[in-house]
């Protein structure tokens, strides 16, 4: 997710509780936070930053319905229309027999659909260079990024806010 010519202030925190408190503190000073990067999920962080609720559930439902319909079509077409076969003395179109296939395809479509939706919406892929403010966010640090172009306060004001909120270090990153 390459965003050209943007200036970010990056704060590094050592503890997830301090980071969460910092988010609340900096937000209440009227600063818009771009994102917080963490090695693990922090409960309440999304709402604290002000991210809207994830819509991946809706995507999951749609993929599930598509999977179910595909399975319904597949079984009906192959066993009922194209090549009807009597198996175990049953009518060719005996839907209880096909419930496992419908269940599996619903799950398969939902799982793959959600995975790819997640990759696409987060800009992840084999050739994409991910936006990484500080590689330590994959290890033991909690990184807060603030987009200066989206904020009214000056760089020095925000920098002092980040420092006051308990950050270990603050740096500027140009993208």
């Amino acid at each position: 997710m390459a965003e050209i010519n943007k200036k970010f202030l990056v704060g590094v925190y050592d503890d997830e509780d301090i980071a969460l408190a910092a988010v609340n503190k900096i937000k209440s000073a009227g600063v818009k936070i771009y994102e917080v990067y963490s090695p693990f999920a922090i409960h309440g962080m999304d709402t604290a930053i002000g991210h809207p609720r994830s819509r991946i559930g809706i995507a999951a439902f749609c993929f599930g319905v598509v999977g179910f319909l595909c399975a319904l079509t597949l079984t009906t077409w192959t066993m009922g229309i194209d090549w009807p076969m009597v198996i175990g003395g049953k009518d060719p179109l005996s839907y209880p027999n096909y419930v496992p296939a419908m269940f599996e395809l619903t799950v398969l479509f939902t799982a793959f659909g959600m995975t790819f939706t997640f990759f696409i919406s987060n800009g992840l892929g084999p050739t994409v260079k991910p936006l990484l403010f500080d590689p330590r966010c994959t290890d033991n640090k909690f990184i807060m990024a603030i987009d200066l172009s989206k904020n009214k306060l000056s760089e020095t004001e925000i920098e002092s806010l980040i420092k006051a909120s308990g950050a270990e270090e603050v740096s500027v990153k140009q993208l």
């Binding site: 997830e16 509780d17 969460l20 408190a21 609340n24 922090i42 409960h43 309440g44 962080m45 999304d46 709402t47 559930g57 439902f61 175990g88 003395g89 049953k90 209880p96 027999n97 419930v99 496992p100």
Partner: protein
């Protein structure tokens, strides 16, 4: 962790079992008894002798039709409700036990509700033991006179082959063991919890983990064997290796729905202020997930029998689907509709699990649905073509439900509504799943 915006509310709450509630419950029980008496009168006037509707299936219900007396329907109903409510009661213990074993924190705040449920166990226990001792032959094919005696005209070689397990002395011992072990283990954990309220400390918690784990080991075996004993052996010729799981799944989700419904109702009456939307959301997830689990097990049992189509197995579904003049077809489908389709669609979204009205609706659907689950499993084998859904059925459900609510309510008055010294309480008060 992390829920800094929650206001921490008081954990001191005393549930009051008001005179008005008691009066309403007494009226409910009175109406229940009146309905049972009315229904009994109607049945005794010949409403129940109409076995001709299923004449074409005469061979299927030889134990149901011959010598049928209308009191069998009363016995079958008592049995059905006892099994259903005993299951819901013991799920309270099951829930607190696996929460202790997992050292779960989130459920601490409403733990007193599942903890109150097993107090009802002695009532179904007494009813079932009395019925099994004195009226066993009205419920069980294998208790029929001379069924295991090669010299008798009633002799049935297949049933006689199951004599090692299905004999009356061993059966009564098993009944006593189930209810005895369940009740005693619950009593121990309950007393530890009440003591913890007074003196605090980690001792009660650690002992509860041990006794809870012991209960889970006991219940791992007894949930299956009791399912065979209470329900499956009614249709003695038939068996299913899925049946233990299936009945456990049914009891479990019905118990979860009872808990959720109780918690939502208490919250609406101003109790359990510390229970927040995240708790409700997770309870909703439990009801949703275990409805699907029940469906999975139900279907796994059905599909194998449907697919193999062996006569001795398929007869079970045949009896319910089209046997006895088709009177069990409606309960058979109500079962799937209320236990799978309704909770699956209603509880799918996040918001519905956080809205008390919708949560209550789903819980009612599950509770009514699982009554019909046990109804479809018990009635064809006990009363066959003489079954139905009338005043007797309504009356007994009402009577048992009111007695159950009475029992839970009076248990809830015996302690602070929130376990104030539970070591996980602080975590539970801050439960936040966003």
């Amino acid at each position: 962790m992390g829920a800094h915006h929650h206001e921490v509310v008081s954990v001191e709450e005393q549930f009051e079992f008001t005179a008005e509630s008691k009066r309403n419950l007494l009226i409910g029980m009175g109406v229940g008894i009146a309905l049972v008496l009315l229904g009994s009168y109607l049945l005794s006037q010949g409403g129940g002798h109409d076995a001709h509707a299923a004449a074409g299936h005469g061979a299927e219900h030889d134990h149901g039709a011959h010598g049928y007396h209308w009191t069998q329907r009363i016995i079958a109903n008592l049995w059905l409700n006892s099994v259903y409510f005993a299951g819901i009661s013991i799920i309270g213990m099951f829930f607190i036990s696996y929460n202790y074993l997992a050292q779960a924190g989130w459920s601490a705040v409403f733990k007193r509700i599942p903890e109150a449920m097993p107090a009802f166990l002695p009532i179904p226990a007494i009813i079932m033991i009395v019925l099994a001792v004195f009226f066993g032959d009205k419920i069980y094919h294998w208790m029929h006179e001379g069924i295991m005696d090669p010299a008798s005209a009633n002799y049935d070689a297949i049933i006689a082959g199951k004599q090692g397990f299905l004999n009356k002395p061993f059966y009564i011992i098993r009944l006593l063991l189930y209810f005895g072990l369940w009740y005693v283990l619950w009593r121990i954990v309950r007393n530890l919890s009440l003591r913890e309220d007074e003196i605090g400390g980690l001792d009660g918690y650690e002992k509860s983990i041990k006794y809870g784990t012991a209960f889970l080991v006991v219940f791992a075996v007894t949930s299956s064997t009791s399912a065979w004993d209470f329900v499956m052996s009614i249709d003695t010729h038939w068996f299913s290796t899925m049946f233990g799981w299936y009945t456990l799944a049914s009891w479990h989700v019905a118990g979860l729905a009872t808990m959720t419904l109780t918690i939502v109702t208490l919250k609406e009456r101003g109790y359990l202020k510390a229970v927040n939307e995240s708790h409700l959301h997770d309870l909703g997830k439990f009801c949703f997930a275990f409805s699907i689990f029940w469906t999975y097990v139900w279907f796994a049992q059905f599909l194998l029998i449907y697919y193999a189509n062996l006569p001795e197995e398929a007869i079970y579904y045949r009896e319910r689907f089209s046997g006895y003049g088709g009177i069990y077809k409606a309960p058979f489908f109500i079962n799937i509709l209320l236990n799978f389709v309704a909770p699956f669609l209603v509880l799918m979204t996040r918001d519905s699990k956080r809205t008390s009205v919708i949560l209550k609706l789903a819980c009612w659907s599950i509770l009514v649905g699982h009554y019909f689950d046990f109804y479809t499993n018990i009635m064809p084998g006990t009363v066959g073509a003489n079954g139905g859904f009338g005043a007797v059925e309504f009356g007994f459900v009402l009577l048992f439900a009111c007695a159950f609510i009475w029992s839970v309510s009076s248990q809830l008055t015996k302690a602070n509504l929130i376990p104030r010294n539970h070591p996980m309480l602080e975590e539970s008060l801050h439960h936040d799943i966003a």
